[in-house]
Symmetry: C2
Subunit: 385 residues, 2 copies
Amino acid sequence: MPRVPTVQDVPARLLLGSGPSPVPERILKALAHPTVGHLDPAFGALQDDVAALLRATMKTTNKVTFPLSATGSGGMQAMVDTLVAPGDRVVVGVHGAFGGRMADALGRAGADVVKVEAEWGRALSVDALIEACADSSTRALFVVHGETSTGVAQPLDGLAEAVHAHDGLFLVDCVTSLAGHPLDLDAAGVDAAFSGTQKCLNVPPGLAPFTVGDRALGRLQRRSWYFDLQAMVDYWFADGPRAYHHTAPINMIYALHEGLRIVEEEGLAARWDRHARAHEALRAAFSVLGFERFAPDGEQLHSLLAVRVPESIDEAAVRGALLREDGIEVSGGLGPLAGRAWRIGVMGEGARQEPQERLIRAVTRRTNGDEHAAVRALADGWAAA
Amino acid sequence: MPRVPTVQDVPARLLLGSGPSPVPERILKALAHPTVGHLDPAFGALQDDVAALLRATMKTTNKVTFPLSATGSGGMQAMVDTLVAPGDRVVVGVHGAFGGRMADALGRAGADVVKVEAEWGRALSVDALIEACADSSTRALFVVHGETSTGVAQPLDGLAEAVHAHDGLFLVDCVTSLAGHPLDLDAAGVDAAFSGTQKCLNVPPGLAPFTVGDRALGRLQRRSWYFDLQAMVDYWFADGPRAYHHTAPINMIYALHEGLRIVEEEGLAARWDRHARAHEALRAAFSVLGFERFAPDGEQLHSLLAVRVPESIDEAAVRGALLREDGIEVSGGLGPLAGRAWRIGVMGEGARQEPQERLIRAVTRRTNGDEHAAVRALADGWAAA
């Protein structure tokens, strides 16, 4: 008879894939703090602080900034269900799996989806996006700021103006970029954005940090009961007593609070800088081993390094051995990059020299690479100003 | 300057309200187990076990039995988004807040909602539900098995036959009844049901246990990307490699696994019996204090005791003092019962004599009740066969 598994049988892993990322003990401890009720005033005080810390991390003054009770993809669904009406013309940038996913979700909701595409591994043309927004019936523009499938960061300059010209909404996915790659939502003129907890915040998956500004709040759709943003505003940001909508995921919000405190302690600018250094150091080390980054200089997403695996390497076999034997997770490619790419997380506690060195040593041993040279390239990268 | 709150500032509470319920240390420990990836085979083995344990707890052989990545109310939304098409005639039993919520959600989705109502505090008339299903265009019947707003359990006998006569679906909310009140989903002919983790499973809020049988799987709607049941089947129950849909809430699933193991260890029948005894003992003790149950004999939901607060008592003031000064949470009334009712959880570890005695002693002191008589009634209730 097979032994019944328990949670304790799940082995520890070094999470250097596309997420979840390494969760510090501090956050696990917060996660396991005794549960209280969703209407307990002591929890309410913590909610207020989560909202304040999240505003600082997202660089927004939007009052309505809080974690939705679903994973990052649930944040995408909430954006669709609350900010887009059937028939709305929505321009969607597609340069990877996550732009494609949004186009899919919008299509299911009956939107008139206008795709602007780019090759996987490249940023979208800002000019093409602006041109697509020229149609005065455009109700929204959506782009993925950090494409987790390709490791590309999308420039946002000029996009808000283009879609605001017709009172459309500028909508952004910042799941993988938040707290790891420079992003100022208010400066970029973003009307609503969603993120996830399991990337650069190092919190387990399960919540979708979400922010929405006044322009978007003025046109809320309420066709979903669960993703009814107004009902959530009445719970999170009530002037008087908080109005019960659904039971908030208490312990996950504990964990998010601790994750946001860690970001605050480090300072957002310092954290961005560290991610940039960690990215370049890891890139240099992988380059020594023949793994070259997809994103050209200037288009890279600091928090995710996507590299082309040399043809001589059986990527799935090596990736499997790294996980099972070395306890290190890296991610394979999605869509057209399946079988050709590795996606390596450079996220929060994963964006440090020690875990990266462990990964580089393991990869060199399994691919007969030059361990000494690769580790030195990593160290040199970290030592560079 | 106000001190910044931290999670550690949130005080411990005895959770005897409508949920969340007391979370045992074992479950908090599982929750804080190191996070792994959502495609890690070691996690996959745990997923299989979660599904098996959940089937046993729900008493169903449905393959598609798993936790959705949202709270219990998200399970309701998933039921609406995947099993009901716009224009569908859906009969909805409304005898409390949670039936009303489903009618609201279905209306937003464009269903033709036919309400069958009952007074808050009573079960729905099975005959009235059956009669409402006689219309051959009926595509579904929805009832709440355990009404958390009133403490009433709904008889399900005969309902499946009535709606199956026209190939309609029998849909059930078992959020508060699962693992606390007798329920055999397969015997009742239920086609799909959702639950929550924060009631009789004693797991923190954040997941929606969900089950769906073949009749319902044959007519899946896919208008929601996030609540796309087929995509979740391809992740949870793939014949080959699990297909990535969204990043599963890993640590919450750890906690659910541990909660389901505790149910298995006690045995479902023994657990139901314990909840019934705990309910009657607590009812007897509250009766001594002048708090009488709303539900008549035979209609009570074992896992939630809803009582009428004596007119002489300022319920909100006493409830607030219980929370702030005694560290005990009980819930007030919703809707027409606001200001008149208390809702007391009898859920999992809350369905034991010790926490109940702590509650009874605190209530008697704050209401000048007969502490000795009330505690004796509780003890006598527990001592009864």
